[in-house]
């Protein structure tokens, strides 16, 4: 007698702790586990790969062209010494500056937008960039000082943020008041910058101009090193804070009801955004639209309802690198500052994103 053929099928019901749809569960022993949003993770990996390619292209591009693979090999200490000299010594500092400044602006934009529950709330719009610019321009044209513009840019960013925070009486119940006060402070600093530029002589004004546009040619090794240190601390903290921040996307009473430390999270996230944006402006000036566009694109990729800190940082880095690459290769012998390219490209891209998004309310 032949036993009926039985197909062994894995019919076991999902385990008691099967993760929610679209997530993977990383067990850490016992009840401890971390949830990973699959689409966010996939987007981050994809962006990282793309970014590596763009870094290769950016290192290869210039008066002597190398193919991206050879440029990356040079960066890693492989290949002929001449390549290494060209890539590591001459080109990497600028690419590095673009990477960290873009990543910082992208992450700061995402934090600020999520905090204020408003897509328009970015370091550009709440006056942080304008404050940094005003101080940097002052050091170039108006005040004879031994401090480098990049050091003053951070002071300016912190001043603008402190003024906005102080005058708004904290971030306010919805971050809205902070946004409006920041807008006003940004306008004041913008006016001060223009006043200084109009009063300065032509040489000083043209030396200060990049500080109003944003350009990777402004980067100094010290400012880049400082931003790198800041990112090494701020990005992991931002990833941790993204969890309580997710609850803040609800109205305050709901977040309080869920036991979220509303006030603490808000102040912590705001501080992170100010520090990363301020140090980024100290590196490359106020590179426009990055903080607005990068989080938008990252959210698009990671899916609705996500707070993709890493994705926004990677997108920001990608955006700034591509803008700089375009600006210094496409219009030779002219060199267009990255900040101009991001503004020209970012505007239409943002419009396209907004017009093709299914839901149009704030994040």
């Amino acid at each position: 007698m032949i036993a009926p053929l039985q197909r062994s099928r894995p019919t076991a019901p999902p385990g008691p702790s099967a993760p929610p749809r679209g997530h993977g569960r990383l067990g850490l022993g016992g009840d401890r586990a971390v949830l990973v949003h699959r689409r966010s993770a996939a987007a981050a990996v994809g962006l990282a790969v793309l970014l590596a390619v763009v870094v290769g292209v950016a290192l290869g591009a210039g008066s002597t062209w190398l193919d991206p693979g050879r440029a990356l090999a040079g960066l890693l200490g492989l290949g002929p010494p001449r390549d290494q000299l060209l890539v590591v010594t001459l080109r990497w500092p600028r690419v590095e500056a673009g990477l960290v400044a873009g990543a910082a602006l992208g992450a700061a934009g995402l934090l600020m937008q999520t905090l204020a529950r408003n897509r328009l709330a970015t370091p550009d719009t709440v006056g942080i960039n304008n404050g940094a610019t005003a101080f940097a321009v002052a050091s170039v044209v108006a005040v004879s000082t031994s401090m480098a513009p990049s050091a003053l840019a951070l002071t300016g960013a912190a001043t603008a943020a402190a003024l906005a925070f102080g005058l708004a009486g904290g971030s306010g119940p919805r971050g809205y008041r902070f946004l409006v006060v920041g807008l006003g402070i940004g306008a004041v600093f913008g006016a001060v910058t223009n006043l200084m530029l109009s009063r300065a002589d032509v040489d000083a004004a043209s030396a200060a101009l990049p500080w109003t546009l944003g350009s990777l040619s402004l980067a100094t090794p010290l400012a880049v090193a400082v931003l790198e240190a800041a990112l090494a601390i701020c990005l992991p903290v931002a990833v941790v804070l993204a969890r309580p921040l997710a609850a803040l996307r609800f109205p305050d009473p709901v977040a309080v009801g869920l036991g979220s430390p509303v006030r603490r999270t808000r102040i912590g996230v705001l501080a992170l955004a100010v520090v990363t944006a301020g140090f980024a402006v100290a590196v490359a000036g106020p590179v426009g639209m990055v903080a607005l566009v990068a989080p938008e694109a990252a959210r698009r990729m990671a899916g609705p309802g996500t707070t993709p800190v890493v994705g926004a940082a990677l997108t920001g880095a990608l955006f700034v690198l591509l803008a700089d690459l375009l600006g210094r290769t496409a219009f030779l012998p002219l060199e267009i500052p990255a900040g101009l390219v991001t503004a020209v490209v970012g505007g239409p891209y943002l419009l396209w994103l907004l017009l093709t998004t299914r839901t149009r309310r704030s994040p």
Binding site: D31, V240, F250, P253, V256, L258, G259
Partner: protein, 265 residues
């Protein structure tokens, strides 16, 4: 499971304006309490104070004998849930996502998803009869379905006390009953429920205990059949009415006739 919620000499207000002065109130555990009163009587303020979204300016809210202000907010959230009026969710969230947020107070950085979480979310979705809608984005749901999803979030939070501010205000009669039935089931399982209700007749029908407020003070409290009289309605709302008894449930039914103060208070 049941937690005991009461206030001790609690006063609440905004700015210089005191809305609720010195209130001593206990909410019967395992029962449904409805706070009623005219607009501006302080009932939503009281609920905000109970939910710690408004800090007391004097006295305290006591949960199992300890002041809310002294407990870590996460610990409070494990025992006391809140559904504010017309709560809004971020875009793109599905029912399942929302209900999952109810587990937040039981989770941590390295404890993001336990088997208890999975069970609680599944049971909450079933209890609120949302199994077929679990993967639908909230913005595609009707008002009644969305309100059930929010209550499912509270169920997943698994607290002994549930506070709700006008949970049925935007719903039609059928969906109101759905929500009240759901809350009745929770009370039957030992949950203490405190809600603000606008609709006096619904409060009489669905609450075990009424707290009637006027000008920040409690006028009276007790079982609906004991406290709802024509005099009370006249005091609270300035309306002349007849109070009947619902032939099915025996609870009071208020039939308004005319305003007593045509010029308004």
């Amino acid at each position: 499971m049941t937690s005991v919620l009461r206030t001790d000499d609690l006063s609440l207000g905004y700015g210089r304006h005191t809305v609720v002065p010195a209130l001593d109130l206990a909410f019967p555990p395992g029962e449904i309490t409805a706070i009623i009163g005219p607009n501006g009587c302080g009932k939503s303020t009281l609920l905000a104070g109970l939910a710690r979204t408004l800090d007391p300016r004097g006295g305290a809210v006591l949960l199992d004998g300890r002041a809310l202000a002294e407990l870590p907010t996460k610990q409070v959230a494990q025992r006391l849930g809140l559904l504010p009026q017309s709560a809004a969710a971020p875009d793109g969230l599905t029912v399942h996502d929302l209900v999952r947020f109810g587990r937040t107070p039981h989770q941590g950085l390295l404890r993001q998803w336990s088997s208890a979480d999975a069970v609680a979310v599944r049971e909450a979705i079933t209890a609120a009869d949302l199994d077929d809608l679990a993967d639908r984005p909230l913005e595609t749901l009707s008002g009644g379905q969305a309100q059930r999803a929010w209550i499912a979030m509270m169920i997943a939070q698994d607290t002994g006390v549930l506070l709700l501010d006008e949970p049925t205000s935007a719903l039609d009669l059928g969906h109101q009953l759905e929500v009240h039935d759901l809350l009745r089931g929770l009370a039957a399982r030992g949950r203490t429920i405190v809600m603000v209700l606008h609709d006096l007749s619904a409060a009489c029908r669905h609450a075990d205990h009424l707290v009637a407020m006027l000008d920040g003070r409690v006028v009276t409290s007790g079982r609906p059949a004991d406290v709802v009289t024509a005099e009370l309605v006249a005091d609270l709302y300035g309306v002349d009415c007849t109070v009947l008894s619902d032939p099915a449930s025996g609870t009071p039914v208020v039939c308004p006739r005319a305003r007593l103060r045509p010029d308004g208070p």
